[in-house]
């Protein structure tokens, strides 16, 4: 009988605890939109925006206050039916192209976009010219083999 009473007490206590703890947990969970599809769009978009407080993180990754605010802003704008481009424009109007991890192609970003392919092209041309020059070189241009070069002998 006493054992039974104890079990009842324990049950009641856990019920009270559950009720007491629920509001705290619910408060934590508020920023996540109830709509998973919307939340996926929010996270996808914030993953391509730079957090300006900790610059090597995206807004999606960062726990900085500003990143949380901006995620909320993105969520609000998307839930109002605004497009991702409108959100991107909103961010660049305030923070500049720097917030975009994928900057637009402009005069100021031309070197950024064209630079690497250009370097690659230069390297390939250099490689081609060198190889062709070697191919056309007469055998005398190379050092003749000496017996010392061949360890097998």
């Amino acid at each position: 009988m006493a054992k039974h009473l104890f079990a009842c007490l324990l049950l009641a206590l856990s019920a009270v605890l559950a009720v007491a703890l629920t509001p705290a947990q619910a408060k934590e969970a508020v920023p996540v939109a109830t709509d998973p599809a919307l939340e996926a769009r929010v996270m996808a978009l914030s993953a391509e925006l730079r957090c300006l407080v900790c610059q090597n993180q995206t807004i999606a990754d960062s726990h900085a206050d500003l990143a949380v605010d901006l995620r909320n802003q993105i969520r609000t704008m998307l839930s109002q039916g605004q497009s991702t481009d409108q959100v991107r424009d909103y961010m660049t109007q305030r923070y500049g192209d720097f917030v975009l991890y994928k900057p637009p192609f402009k005069a100021t970003t031309a070197l950024l976009w064209v630079g690497p392919p250009l370097l690659m092209l230069v390297a390939l041309v250099a490689l081609f010219l060198t190889l062709r020059a070697r191919q056309r070189a007469r055998p005398e241009a190379f050092d003749p083999d000496t017996p010392d070069d061949d360890p097998a002998r």
């Binding site: 300006l52 206050d65 500003l66 802003q73 660049t92 109007q93 305030r94 500049g96 720097f98």
Partner: protein, 174 residues
């Protein structure tokens, strides 16, 4: 000769690029707001929360907007410079109290001095987002037409005040 010259040229180009890169400050993000109208706002005053100030009500005279908060340590560093500058400033300095508790903010001003004509409250940081604020303190200079002319991120130094802000204010006022 040629064989050694080209790698050397490549190396020198790399050195120049890296040297320039070292001099750049990645924390200084050029504001897209420079030369554009300052974003509109309607903010309650820290001193009198019942009253509000709008961007429109400040048109006609250049002014300085200094974003600060009592929780912000670098704000404490730059604050004495503002307190010293305020009496001789040719234009009013407005504070934007960013994501702060009004009581803490008022206590801060009482302890450290109040250089601001008024401090506007931005409790939820919305005005901050509109102004592209990402690192408090930040300072803006806005001209009589309401156009942003200058922005400084981080604590100001006497040099920035003397060499950049003061000449600009004199030019705008004159």
């Amino acid at each position: 000769m040629n064989r050694f010259l080209w790698p050397l040229v490549g190396f020198l180009v790399l050195v120049v690029f890296l040297g320039v890169g070292l001099k750049l400050n990645p924390r200084e993000v050029p504001s897209p707001l420079i030369g554009k109208p300052a974003p509109a706002f309607n903010a309650p005053l820290l001193a009198e929360p019942g009253k509000t100030v709008t961007r429109e009500s400040l048109l006609g005279k250049p002014w300085v907007l200094n974003v600060w908060a009592s929780w912000c340590a670098p704000c404490r560093d730059e604050h004495p410079y503002w307190v010293a500058f305020a009496p001789k400033s040719p234009v009013p300095i407005y504070g934007l109290n960013y994501k702060d508790q009004p009581a803490a903010a008022q206590k801060w001003l009482q302890q450290l001095g109040n250089p601001y004509a008024q401090s506007l409250m931005d409790a939820d940081g919305r005005i901050g987002i509109d102004y592209g604020v990402y690192g408090v303190p930040e300072t803006f200079v806005i001209d009589a037409q309401g156009v942003v002319r200058f922005k400084h991120v981080g604590p100001i130094t006497p040099e920035v005040l003397r060499d950049k802000i003061e000449p600009l204010l004199k030019q705008l006022n004159g």
